[in-house]
Symmetry: D3
């Protein structure tokens, strides 16, 4: 089975630089996949993407060595299994709040005896190889998002679930949940403290910690702290920021 570069990076203590895809299109995905990201996450939760569009996006990413990851809309068995069958090498699940949530996540994403994932890796075996079934459990990466007050309350319960490879922090949702401003990088102290706490507990449990960032500065600082999977920006944000800059410069140049 094709190895998962995320696991290889993590094994040596390295951190993965992850890009984010909110635009539901395979050409923009392929363009992003050629920019050198370690992995790209197709966002089926807040991105404008659904399953049908995700498939050619996964194919587009598969033309490069970039690792394909998918964030699902919710902790729901149907979609989790579908994105894996389509060839995702990592899944990020939002709002994992309890030990039971984490157990269901692990069950849905692993074949028996480790879980209850149904068997039918129709595209996954094209991408991963004919021995996919034998190695998928140890190759695919499962992330639980820690982004609510409930999740903080059950943090150790969640982190100690066997088979959970990683957690992913959504700073804006976590901030909202704690009554702070919903931002990515410059979070309020209460949120900052929670993030540090999550990271520390993840380290303690041997679970990889990932986080969403708005800037490279924040991402690098967080890697320095111990995060091993950092997202910066997204296709749509990068495009909009670039466009805004062009328009602003033109307006200024034209004295409008």
């Amino acid at each position: 089975m094709r190895p998962n570069r995320l696991r290889e990076l993590w094994r040596t203590g390295g951190a993965a630089v992850n890009g984010w895809l909110a635009i539901p299109n395979s050409f923009s995905a392929e363009t992003m996949a050629h920019q050198g990201w370690d992995s790209l996450t197709i966002d089926l939760q807040h991105g404008m993407v659904d399953y049908a569009t995700m498939v050619p996006m996964l194919q587009a990413i598969s033309t490069t060595p970039t690792v394909p990851v998918v964030r699902v809309p919710w902790l729901e068995a149907g979609i989790l299994m579908k994105v894996l069958d389509a060839g995702a090498y990592g899944v990020i699940c939002p709002m994992v709040n309890t030990r039971e949530d984490a157990q269901r996540l692990v069950a849905y994403t692993h074949y028996a005896p480790r879980g209850t994932r149904s068997f039918g890796p129709v595209r996954a075996s094209l991408y991963g190889g004919p021995d996919y079934a034998a190695h998928a459990n140890d190759t695919i990466v499962t992330f639980a998002m820690i982004e609510t007050a409930a999740a903080l309350d059950h943090l150790d319960d969640i982190l100690s679930v066997e088979g959970l490879d990683a957690i992913y922090v959504g700073p804006s949702d976590l901030s909202l949940a704690l009554g702070c401003r919903p931002v990515f990088d410059d979070v309020d102290p209460k949120a900052a403290e929670a993030i540090d706490h999550i990271l520390a507990r993840a380290k303690h449990h041997g679970v990889v910690a990932g986080i969403h960032n708005g800037t490279t500065e924040a991402a690098l600082a967080r890697i320095a702290k111990g995060f091993q999977f950092v997202t910066v920006g997204s296709d749509a944000r990068l495009m909009a920021a670039g466009a805004r800059q062009v328009v602003d410069r033109m307006q200024a140049g034209l004295g409008r």
Copy 2:
């Protein structure tokens, strides 16, 4: 009928700042349309877009005051009329090389008696208004691309065709045609001279001149020379450039 802001800008000697869409998706189009461009051109020639995807992209642009323009793949009656029926307020036609080409272009894009455009503005009348038929000929803008050696040979013949509102220079194709490097901004002297010549003749004939640029600097310089419609970058290029910058900074920060 909804007025065409391009004509309004030009009437007072102003220049329009145009964005470019190569990604075949209505969400990226809508995101671009919110960044303040005067107009956005959906590229059915070199962009990855075809008619069916263009329709929701036009709808997305129609949620803002940005003027929707379409570049067609070729001087072909069927697609020219279809993009107008779909509500484009401007069309850019590649490789107009002779007076006859320009006459066909004008004929296909105007109703009788000015041309032979077939009647059926199915979406155009939703966007333009119920009086579309009466005013379309004077509202829509038609651009002929000047980008070949043949076009240079027949420049005055082309520019003097009645009903041709504007020309659009493709610097890379023009450069290739003249044996120069295919670039947007820093063109070889021979190409630069040709561009100046085209601009001068367009001015002489009272035809608006537009041009593709790679940077805001080039675009502003060209406006200063007299161009009144300048494109800078594209959705895909802006996105890729932003992504590349993030990845480069991360690689540098990580010492890779």
Copy 3:
């Protein structure tokens, strides 16, 4: 944030005339949006529409002042949050049967502290404005459908859930649930009584009442009774009825 015209109408005691979209296409949606409806509901439950097609339909509606509403297939967090992120200004949720159902519905559709909606209004902030996060909770409208025997049993429990703005009656499902014929307007007495009861209790709790109708006569009569959100027909039904009338007249005229 762009205000919600439904709330404005209701504030002054007015009623909204709502159209219904079952055809999964953005051109038919845009055509409908130009006919003067106060709001249009994209039906992801019984309509042939899913998330991916809904997005350009929302964009099409956004070219007009018509308020975009979406009926989701089921009370499921993933899809509820996705339709809101895509810019729906109202959501209708089928088969809300208990107080707990209504509480989950309100939680999924509101940001903390009022609920647990995850943060990422990717298209919603294009449509609503950059201050979307601050005002969404007070702008978006949440409808619970009352259409089962269980819902009748728990009517006051449901109606008293804080944050539930409105209810929506599906007369055919409600009729079926009560052992009556599944019709929209001329419902059996038992169903008629139930509808009156629902309206009265909604009024009592200060919750807006909406209902599906087959004809304008029924809709006007129901507004007269106190309903403030009435649907009449649907894109597909109106088209089919018009077509059938044409064919019938032609057959008659041709003596077939």
Copy 4:
């Protein structure tokens, strides 16, 4: 090969009642196909439809006995052959202006020795049957649109082209071409005269005459005159008219 009901109707002097599809969707097409039309024409010219969407629309029509017809965007070999390979049993070609145009149309739509249609009826043989190749030339119906001044000038030249089965009049384009108002039914005298002339010459040459109408009254009157293929309305127009009527009645009832 499945027979063509249009030919059967015409053989006995009957007229076909044709519906029109401008909405690019297979569900609206299937709904229309269940309303009793003799044939349905998918409009790739002024409708919002392209080849890719046309395919499932043809499949949707194929669930009923309604004859599938396609209007192509232009007299272009590629698209004419593609719509036939996809299973259209009739093609309408816009703006056939000369004998040479008509000859090319016939050539592109018939196999050798009658024409130069390329062989590959990939879906057509599913719909028509395994003996499609042997009978297609005598089963499919080819319409040339007569709608320009040039076409009037070359009317007999066009009508006498062997293999041209039918002509189709676009009253609004014909009116525009003659300097009249672009309407369907109540055309200006000059256009009315031209229409009568076209019908008379078609009859003389044994070519079936078809025409676009806005109302059943006009369609019936034209059948009475001798037209044997009449279109009334379209999916989008019927839907919009129905919606407008509902909204108008609601507004009136609400005293707005």
Copy 5:
């Protein structure tokens, strides 16, 4: 209402030969539908298909007498009701593990009073007929998949749920669940025994038994044992096997 050929076959003790669709396309579906299968199952679980693509696939199947069946991704009310509204005449639900699961499945797929299916057979009544509502409960077929250890534990509880028409065995998932190799036909003894047991109990409860097979030999052998619904291969597998055979022969012939 159009009768369900599956029920007709079963009534006389016959077995249905079922094809399988994993390719998300209506042309491949129509091609498959012309090969003589009694029924075709569109696989929304492990196939690459989602709701939006399923709709034209159902339309494609509806051009033939083949019975359209859909496997849903999971036991979830929203999608179960949507596939029925779209005209599926059979639904297969994965991983039905308990009596409560089976009861929910039956409830979601039947109208009151037998269940809680919401009313709105938008396309289903085009396919089934205007009297769909009256007969759907007795026409549509509901399959529960038996493929886990839990399901084996609760087998009689599941099989005795009123309204469950059939069960469907997934040999590879069942094998995995029992610690055996995930294969279709030549299953390990423990799995073989379980399959025989499931068949016997289904017979006892008067529930039709179906099963997935890799070869016609296995399928025929299982029919001989009493299975009445057998799947062999899938569109993608048949295509890949045919292609591999061609390539192998060419390689051999070329001495590569």
Copy 6:
């Protein structure tokens, strides 16, 4: 620039085994691309594929070393340039009948000074590499189809056009054109003679000869004669043949 394996095979006198894609879907394309073909041709002429669907199919093929080829619907500049910009490494153009046709084909598919291809390899440079512009003219392969009586008349004129890399014989169209039965392999003597003649003249001019086949036997025999590019079957035909075989065996086994 990524080298073109077709050229590498031909350089050493080898023959390429080509697969054919008529199903408009990227998953079936990816499945085919994993079966070991040297190249895969996406058929935009008789296949059910158009530009928009072709793009993800090209991406799917790009996940493997298989060379992506596209057959365009017709000799039309717009679509020829679009398929190249999308990353096709070979184009097959139907019905090239004259020297002028062949010259236009070469012009449209090569950059200046060899031709007039417009510059904008948006996806092609992702697939081919950043130096695409410099090497495309020598890397991409252009095939002219020889399949009409006219082409036979102008055979040497066509074959001597500089820049034409290969010809492709469509045996069924060629047969039709010569009054023979439209078959792939066992063609009538007159067609067989014509094919031999084409091959001989192509060899004489140093132009590679390719041909469509129905069976591996025919393909191998033709390679033995000197053809260097042979197609066998297609995705849809292989799938249908496999399905028909399963159904036939089941019917036989069931004694139907």
